[in-house]
Amino acid sequence: MSDVPAISLSGVHKSFGRTQIIRGVDLDIPRGQRHALIGPNGAGKTTLFNLISGRFSATSGTIALNGKSIDGLAAHEINRLGLSRSFQITSIFPRLTVFENIRCGLLWARGYRYSFWHLLGGQRALNEEADRLIERLNLQGRRNVPAGLLSYAEQRALEIGITVAGGADIILLDEPTAGMSHSETEYAVALIRAVSEGKTLLMVEHDMSVVFGLADVITVLVYGEVIASDAPARIRGNKAVQEAYLGTEAA
């Protein structure tokens, strides 16, 4: 294994019009690390996610995945480099069944491309793989239900499933447990831990128990700048962080 970081940001800026959202972020995330991005509302966490996943392009600075610059690449090209993401607002295929949602997540990664000559019903290996993942997500009882009819927590689980289905080695999760009950959150954390085994995980999360329970390293973003990036224990003791972020929550 080389020591090229999985995700590498240097001098990344992003402005919308005259408003600066990201004001120079430098961050290296080594391979195999579970990394959490926290910060108060409006700090630019989701924007940073959108830059890394190619939804927006950076105003200046470079972003590299496994040492390869993603400058100017479209979202689907970045996905093909091995990065997959989920969305803060659930983003699934509502009219397709749970099974088809997961299978769509697998198709490109298994080399089917734009094929109109394979009949999906006959692709046994593919279908079995989709079913195995559905079992891991604990959605086997809802296999043939249109995804739009699932409960909120089920949809979030499905979204994580679509995100990891293709076997991407860099996974970005944007508030995966937002809006979940306590027990649902516990289940989601176990699921995230299992599916991100051996992969690089970057997640935005507001639930501190999730962050401190899951992350190897936490980066704190405030007003578009990184004010700290360290192990959870040291982040907890960091004065600046307490002032800027944890302090406001305790107050």
Binding site: S53, R55, A74, A75, H76, N79, R80, S84, R85, F87, S91, I92, F93, P94, R95, L96, E100, R103, C104, G105, L107, W108, A109, Y112, R113, Y114, S115, F116, W117, H118, L119, L120, G121, R124, N127, E128, D131, Q140, R143, N144, V145, P146, L149, I162, T163, A165, G166
Partner: protein, 441 residues
């Protein structure tokens, strides 16, 4: 595969029997299509009814066209206002191909001539698709509308290819049949149309089960998500559009084989609208919806147009009513009944439906009377005809028939509202029961 599914697969019979049992609708459809003309066979002259054969051929070729439209609309969420350009251009390519065969400069069996139209549609599909699929949603619809107008204008400008207002005439009797069939009679052509309609429909059905077909659904539902599983939504749209052009071209080729002429109205906006109407009326959300819609629209077109000048108005009203009250089309209405059918209580809806039917029929009759009176006073009277209901001549310039129509329409409209409220209550009870029994998904 789950254990349950494996077990079911093991129990299922194999081979042709299993395929027939699961897909009985296809052979049944072909059988009905081949038997139907014999109901109208004139045994005294030993001739098929030309009118019926033409109408059924029209249903077949328009069904292919509407299904290809739904490859974009229903499957990929791409509303096209210019789909007829692919149909019509496929037709022009076919007409030129037939003429080349006739002239001896090309050899192609008559049975494979529809492929020429398909390839024409495919090539023009790639060309226009390259432009149109750069955008999606409203912008896509606008581009296709522009392309439609562009091609319709070209059809009157470039005489060599389009033949101007007169179009391109051709002769389908080319003596190149693989089976020695001359295709001189309507019946022989009808059989060819049935065969190609079935082939095209089956291929389009299979296409929905391929990776491209599924990703077209995925991009329709959520194009951004599709990007983040590795697909370029634009390429999905492009391939889907191009393939849809292939099938539209086959539809156009069948048109040329049936009518032996292709004119600029095959590429015109009205033709595109027909596919859209048929798809919406039948239901864009279901594969068979466009076929059902085509049957209704062609029956109105060929049948009602003989009786009434206002047939297009009836199609329009039907379209508006469907979009307003049944956005899922006829197939959508059928699908709504599935949960009730699963609880086995479908029979309880017979009486409520019958009670709805009476005021509905009366309201339709009242509406038709008013429309026909209006159309008679403007068009019919000028043609020197008399307004007749059965054997009775009615004077359209007296107040009585107008009042009768208005009373029937308004009175039974109110009655219908009242009945539909009762129906609604009954329906809600049945659905609640289906929910309680877990028959809903």
């Amino acid at each position: 595969m789950s254990a349950d599914a494996t077990q079911r697969a093991a129990l299922a019979p194999t081979g042709l029997v299993a395929v027939t049992r699961r897909h009985w609708i296809w052979p049944a459809g072909v059988l009905v299509a081949l038997l139907l003309p014999w109901l109208f066979f004139d045994w005294s002259t030993h001739r098929h009814s030309g009118f019926v054969l033409t109408m059924l051929s029209e249903i077949g070729l328009m069904a292919v066209f509407a299904l290809s439209f739904n490859m974009q609309m229903g499957q990929a969420g791409l509303l096209s206002f210019g789909h007829a350009i692919l149909f019509g251009l496929g037709g022009y390519v076919t007409a030129h191909t037939l003429n080349a065969i006739k002239a001896g400069s090309l050899w192609l069996p008559t049975e494979l001539v529809p492929l020429a139209g398909g390839i024409g549609g495919l090539i023009f599909g790639a060309l226009f698709g390259y432009v149109a699929t750069k955008q999606r949603a409203t912008a896509f619809a606008m581009i296709t509308m522009g392309l439609g107008e562009l091609v319709a204008a070209c059809a009157l400008m470039f005489m060599g290819f389009f033949g101007g207002e007169g179009g391109i005439s051709t002769d389908r009797v080319t003596d190149t049949s693989l089976f020695g069939i001359p295709y001189s009679s309507s019946w022989q052509v009808y059989c060819l149309v049935v065969a190609w309609t079935a082939i095209a429909a089956i291929l389009m059905r299979l296409q929905t089960q391929t990776p491209l077909g599924r990703m077209a659904n995925a991009c329709r539902d959520n194009f951004e998500r599709a990007q983040f599983v590795g697909y370029d939504p634009r390429m999905v749209r492009f391939y889907q559009f191009t393939l849809s052009g292939f099938f539209a071209g086959i539809g156009g080729a069948l048109y040329v084989l049936v009518y032996e002429i292709v004119t600029f109205d095959t590429v015109a906006a009205a033709k595109s609208a027909t596919a859209l109407l048929a798809t919406y009326i039948g239901g864009a959300g279901s594969f068979f919806g466009p076929i059902l819609g085509t049957i209704v629209v062609v029956l109105l077109q060929s049948g009602v147009s003989l009786l009434s000048n206002a047939w297009l108005l009836y199609v329009g009203v039907l379209f508006i009513v469907m979009v307003m009250y049944a956005p899922g089309g006829m197939m959508g209405i059928i699908a709504l009944h599935e949960p009730v059918a699963r609880t086995g209580r479908l029979r309880e809806l017979v009486v409520p439906y019958a009670r709805l039917l009476v005021p509905a029929v009366l309201a339709v009759l009242g509406f038709v009377l008013l429309v026909e009176l209006a159309s008679f006073t403007t068009i019919g009277a000028a043609q020197g005809k008399a307004f007749k209901i059965g054997p009775h001549t009615v004077d359209a310039h007296t107040a009585l028939p107008w009042a009768l129509g208005a009373v029937a329409l308004i009175g039974s409209g109110l009655w219908l509202r009242w009945e539909s409220r009762r129906f609604r209550a009954r329906w809600d009870a049945l659905i609640a029961d289906a929910k309680a029994k877990g028959a809903m998904l």
